[in-house]
Amino acid sequence: MADYQIRRCERQLEGGIYPETHKALSTTDSCVFVDDPKRLVFPIHFSGGGPGEALVAVGDTVFQGTPIIKCQSGITHVASRSGKVIEITDHAITHPSATKSASIIIEPNGLKDQDYLDPLVWPFDADTLRNRAIEAGILGLGGAGFPSFKKWSDGTQTLIINGAECEPYLTADDTLMRVDTHSMIRGACMLSQSLDIKTIIIGIEDNKPEALEAIESALKESRSDCFFDIVLLDTKYPSGSERHLVWLTLGIEVPTGSRAIESGVIVHNPGTLAALSRAIDGKPITDRIVTLTGEALTAPQNVIVPIGTPISHLIEAADTNPDSLASIAIGGPMMGYPVTDFTAGITKTTNCLLAREIEVPPESPCIRCGACATVCPVRLQPQQMVFALKGGSLDRAVHEGLIDCIECAACNAVCPSHIPLAEWFRLGRFEARDKANDQHLAAEARERFEARNLRLERIALEKEAKRAARQAKTADALEKARKARKESA
């Protein structure tokens, strides 16, 4: 039995909101596989891990687990079912950009052919684990899709399992913690042991008693010597944000512009750890749990879905006709984004499909009431930032702290003028990033330009010196010749 304690979080999230969670809608005790879809879609550049390249060609036969995409960061994505590559073409993708992008389309053949990796045998070191994560295509499954292995550095003291799942409607992590508890605990222990981490914190909101029970019983069976510190959090949005979870559980404020890892903390989604546990056994990520929810679905539930499954297939799996929906929100009501083309396939970061009728009230001018500022979990002044952005001054918005915005959209929820603040901030952050990039390039160009000028100057000086030497030589020779002539004369 692993040592563990359960404590209530002693800190209070500053700001934040208490949205209606709607979690009962999709909460089910079991979680089943959906039927295999007719085709699977794998965007080459948008599967997570940065732009990639296809490792297969049209007509190739792939097995479940065959690598098909290799990203620039090294992450490999695999086919989630065996079948045939029928097309590589621009296809709708599950991404906020709502564009079409090059994708590999696979038609599953229903066979159970598998192409897995060799299991790792303990003891292994962190590098082995890192390589395995890359091969198995492990990304943060919570939604951001940050390549997990980049977080694993030596000298880390704490691993936090982010089981907060504060976003309304979502129950994917809750379900995973209930049905796949052992994998999650095992993954956490393996990671901790290879990185020599002693304490594992599980941050979990107090609205998930079943998951807590499952974790407790799994820990009682576990033989790990890690210490598990289970922290019960208030059900308040956004306590599951990485920064806020670190502060709530440890009291560490991650400084602006750095990640939790730089403060010695790793934060992982339960799904990531469960996937890691399977990857150690040789099985890359081929499936994930997705919450199908929202009032517009007939049968909301959590299902295990092969990566690449088209959204329309999942809507049908929830007993609903895809044609009856205009759009579907990917990832929940707060931080999600709309997708209208349901042929797009889900990716590793798709945790929820939310279908509901929503009425968007017309936007009215900001009256600076400050409601957004009172709920901002990073203590920003959203009203000032949006005033600057709408007025066209990105610099002013950055000055007000735009870079610190976590885009949690709590401000949107309370704004009496119905201003889409978080959208403005996302746009602003993208623009700020582009601008910073441009400035970086300009600085480099300046350096090269100055280096070149120095070089040209040096070459010119050398030439001048050579010319002078040559001239002197010629003059010398002439002088000699003249002397010789004189003498001879």
């Binding site: 400084p255 602006t256 009215s364 409601a371 119905h418």
Partner: protein, 339 residues
């Protein structure tokens, strides 16, 4: 018992409507003590404000109905109507109301863009432009005018019988030469009900009720009213050396526009400071300036000037009261690193 909401109203229109509802007790009390002129003021100022708003929006080719429906112009009109003298002539009311909307609001781009409080701008403009009208047409609550008298005053025929010096005026002029005991022989004091000065303090009480309801509804926070009233009280108490010449603390708080301003004028979110700390500083500034101008200046009630002056300081207050951003070491530092 209705439960207190956990969040501020979810719509701008509801915010404005709540403030209008909260004005009702004050309006009733004012009508009771100062006569029907109050209602005439309202009935003139609100349509004038709406018309000005509509014209401005039309000139800028903006959609008119959503902005009229959000009740912000109605509120501005109501506030200016309640600030003006009760026996004010119609032209003054219309001028004040339209200049509030046009100069105070739409020159700067309409709702949410104005740096100064429109109602107080309109009031101050009138005070400068028509000082006699603005200072002599206050109704004496002891001779509450009937409808006919009020109507005559509305048409511009002032009637000395019903107008009189306001409480603050009395303290600045008549009571200066009287001892506190002599001053308390004034009918306004002798006719006090339940210890509340006739008229003025009852109106203040009514506004207080509305204001507290606004706080209860989370439409406004406690920072602004508490900041103003406490500052005013503390500053008065501090300088209140001689009871025979100085205006007493409670008069400062209740006899002028103190309570009304604390809950309804200073709480205008657009022109006020935006963070809770900033609001506190804003209100403290208004409190100090109000006392100074009331005591040493020419104008008996100084809230309008104090509010305008502090409005101009708002960008600075906002800058220096910005809370420390999570993950940063200091609050006023500019841009941080890139994420």
């Amino acid at each position: 018992m209705i439960k207190r909401p956990d969040y501020p109203p979810a719509d701008t229109q509801i915010v404005m409507r709540s403030v209008l509802i909260a004005l009702i007790p004050g309006i009733i009390a004012m009508t009771l003590f100062f006569g029907i002129g109050v209602l005439l003021n309202l009935a003139t100022a609100i349509p004038a404000a709406l018309a000005a708003e509509a014209v401005c929006l039309g000139l800028r080719r903006r959609s008119i109905s959503p902005r009229l429906n959000d009740l912000s112009a109605v509120l501005t009109g109501a506030l200016i109507a309640l600030s003006l003298p009760q026996a004010a002539p119609w032209w003054l009311i219309i001028l004040a109301s339209t200049s509030s909307i046009v100069l105070g609001k739409h020159l700067y781009g309409g709702l949410g863009q104005n740096p100064v409080n429109p109602a107080m701008l309109g009031y101050a403009l009138m005070l400068i432009s028509a000082p006699i009208t603005m200072t002599t047409l206050w109704v004496d609550p002891l001779v509450t005018p009937d409808l006919a008298t009020a109507w005559l005053a509305y048409l511009g025929q002032s009637n000395d019988a019903v107008t009189g010096a306001t409480m603050l005026d009395l303290y600045r002029t008549e009571f200066r030469v009287l001892t506190a005991a002599e001053a308390s022989q004034n009918p306004l004091f002798t006719q006090a009900h339940l210890g509340l000065i006739y008229g003025y303090e009852w109106v203040a009480l009514a506004y207080l009720v509305g204001g507290l309801w606004l706080i209860y509804q989370r439409v406004i926070t406690w920072h602004t009213p508490v900041g103003l009233l406490v500052t005013l009280a503390v500053v008065c108490a501090f300088f209140n050396f001689d009871p025979d010449t100085a205006t007493p603390v409670w008069i400062h708080l209740t006899a002028g526009a103190g309570i009304f301003a604390a809950f309804f004028i200073l709480t205008d979110p657009v022109s006020g400071a935006t963070s809770p700390k900033g609001r506190l500083w804003f209100a403290i500034g208004v409190g100090i300036l109000t006392y100074l101008i009331r005591t040493y200046g020419l104008y008996p009630d100084a809230i309008a000037f104090a509010v305008l002056l502090m409005n101009f300081a708002v960008p600075m207050i906002d800058h220096y009261t910005r809370p420390r951003i999570m993950g940063r070491s200091s609050s006023i530092r500019g841009s941080g690193g890139q994420s």
